[in-house]
Symmetry: C2
Subunit: 410 residues, 2 copies
């Protein structure tokens, strides 16, 4: 089986040029002209490979290699191509273009699948625009209903429904959910986004469970005023309450008792944001994760209690909006076994591991047996312009993916 790594790296490089940030950064946000241009490029590649294309009402993109028994549930693979502001070129992309290359390698080897093999590009794995990650896979598995999707608005107040319509995606949102038995198995190739494989000098990780974040938006409202004239005892400064909360998120995650707990305040928006004006409102976006759901939830509870205490002491109003608090997912044993068998056939060492990052596979696991295949990335970095995975590791990942798809589709 021949993986054309040159062609694949060329396509990854080309896809990175669809970006709203200057290279090497990649910014590709849901339904922007840049996102739509990238999708058009991907569709042209999928069509060249003779895959049957379908888009749903949210923009999830399906590219099917029809099997000998097309009525059987298909084998799915794929990932996402949206990118948070100032991210890199591999996160998600390796699973989409790598999945395409795996299919092309099987085609070139004259493999004839019994089940259809379907490449799936998920809409909006990143939460950038609507504040919620894995939008496409949440809808595909029914975790989010059409009615829940209908309530989403972006930071400029535009509804998801209007945004998708303007981007050319029509049809009822209730049609997005996939029927049972649509897939017999799903497998996602992805960069690790962590340092373990590199540290242990291993080319592959086979994911046995996916951690899930609790994420919340905390909105603080104090009292604004002129930075020169309101004396200190008379202030109710929303930024100072936000600063205390961010420090407490960090402290609570570190105090959980386990190294697997992480807590981050990634959003901190200040209103009005002028140097001579006391901040009247602050919005914090907080993300807390663990591979253990109850330990994660204990940290979340501590943070929520601290928000109440800090705001009461400072005379600050607050509201908390829960973005998500999904349970972790276990991988499907048969998919893990197929990945292990494929790696062993190729003589490639691997470790079993937990994914600390959040993936569409978390939701695909509710539909069908699902697992993930990780390849190393430099220093464990991701979500930054210098995110990097080597061509050698990508090629090895695609080889294992191709064999696994063949095995699952037989």
């Amino acid at each position: 089986m021949n993986v054309d790594i040159q062609r694949l790296m060329g396509e990854i490089e080309r896809l990175a040029t669809f970006s709203d940030a200057p290279a090497p950064a990649v910014t590709r946000v849901l339904y922007t002209p840049t996102d739509l241009a990238a999708r058009a490029y991907l569709k042209s590649l999928f069509a060249e490979a003779d895959l049957e294309l379908r888009e749903d009402a949210l923009g999830n993109l399906f590219a099917r290699w029809v099997g000998a028994e097309p009525d059987l549930p298909a084998v799915g693979t794929g990932s996402h191509t949206d990118a948070i502001p100032h991210a890199g070129r591999y996160d998600g992309v390796v699973g989409v273009l790598g999945g395409l290359e795996a299919i092309r390698a099987l085609q070139a080897a004259r493999f004839r699948p019994r089940r259809s093999i379907e490449l799936l590009m998920f809409t909006s794995e990143e939460p950038t625009r609507f504040g919620i990650g894995c939008l496409g896979s949440r809808a595909l598995c029914g975790a989010w209903t059409a009615e829940m999707l209908g309530r989403l608005r972006d930071s400029e107040g535009k509804s998801l429904d209007q945004a998708r319509t303007e981007a050319g995606f029509s049809g009822g949102l209730e049609t997005v959910r996939l029927p049972e038995n649509y897939y017999s198995a799903f497998v996602e190739l992805h960069i690790e986004q962590g340092p373990l494989l590199e540290q242990e000098n291993l080319p592959l990780g086979i994911v046995t469970a996916i951690a899930a974040p609790a994420s919340l938006i905390v909105r603080l409202s104090g009292q604004g005023g002129h930075a020169g004239t309101v004396l200190m005892p008379d202030r109710r400064d929303a930024l100072l309450a936000g600063a205390e909360i961010a420090l407490e998120v960090d402290r609570a995650a570190r105090a959980s008792g386990a190294p697997d707990t992480v807590g981050t305040t990634g959003i901190f928006k200040v209103h009005p944001g002028a140097i001579n004006s006391i901040p009247s409102r602050v919005e914090l976006g907080i993300d807390i994760r663990d591979i253990d759901g109850s330990r994660r939830d204990a940290v979340v509870s501590r943070v929520v209690a601290a928000v109440g205490e800090i705001c009461e002491r400072r005379g600050i109003g607050y509201e908390i909006e829960w973005m998500n608090a999904d349970p972790p997912a276990q991988s499907g044993e048969e998919v893990v076994r197929a990945l292990e068998a494929s790696a062993q056939e190729l003589g490639l060492p691997y470790r079993k591991m937990v994914s600390r990052a959040y993936h569409d596979s978390l939701f695909m696991a509710r539909l069908c047996p699902t697992a993930m295949l990780f390849i190393p990335c430099k220093n464990g970095w991701s979500h930054r312009p210098d995110e990097y995975a080597s061509p050698e590791h990508i090629e090895q990942g695609v080889r294992v993916l191709a064999r696994t798809l063949a095995r699952l589709a037989e």
Copy 2:
């Protein structure tokens, strides 16, 4: 002398409709289409009052009532009309439209000034766009040279020079500086932006000194990464350092030993600003003020030391950019005396006071004897949509201003 307060309040109301935020908030940022539309409205009013108009290369707008001896240095009055995001309608505006009404009242009373009386609308008293307040008056008095102005860029990287040119203001920046003996005196009517006059139930404050802020931008750079996969001990989170610094600014101002010290972190910008991304860069805008220059500078030193200590402990890089650290200004005694005499003639009580807010008069004081006249504002609030000064207080301020201008121009 007849002040037409109805007309004046109507003009203040009309000017507030030139805003990029919905009413009652006012947002009017330098050289935006909204700023330019507001200027056109003001010029039409000034022209109706038969004032001679002139604009300089920065957009400082001069409207002159030519006196009987036009070669004598003129008497100046005026203020600004730009407004920070989500501000109110009185800050600055009362001194521009109130100055116009004072001139119209003198004209209607058939007063004939010996010296010219000139209304001056300053460009960009607020630091919103270029990070530095009192841009127009700094240039008028030569505190900032053309070369310093030439280095300014807004947050999108556009130079002041390009922005002013696009707004229609041409000519060399070196022509903005006013000659010596241009003005014989300057007086600025303004809302207090503090609570003292209201608390003491006084209609007028005569300003004997103006405090000046030290303002600085602190840029922090840590290490970004995925919020799920970078474990806590491996992080260098720029936001957490910024949070500690903001809390220290507050602590240092409160610990100065005097109630007159204030410290504010009004800007706190986070990069990349996504909920699942560790903040790699943060920019803080810090403003520290006091009526005592050395006490202010001691607080600034404590904050700068804390920035170094916090960043070293957290492995965060930093740079500090000084926006300004101007010395306080003393009012001109003859202008103070003219204000006092005018208030006494009208039987209006007043107090002498220090301005804690920053004004163009701080820089005009370098050119000529200068003082300010304050009127009360509700709860001392300003820089917020519910900023309010009563028509009665505005009328009393304009009456005193008109008499003072007449006295100084005789």
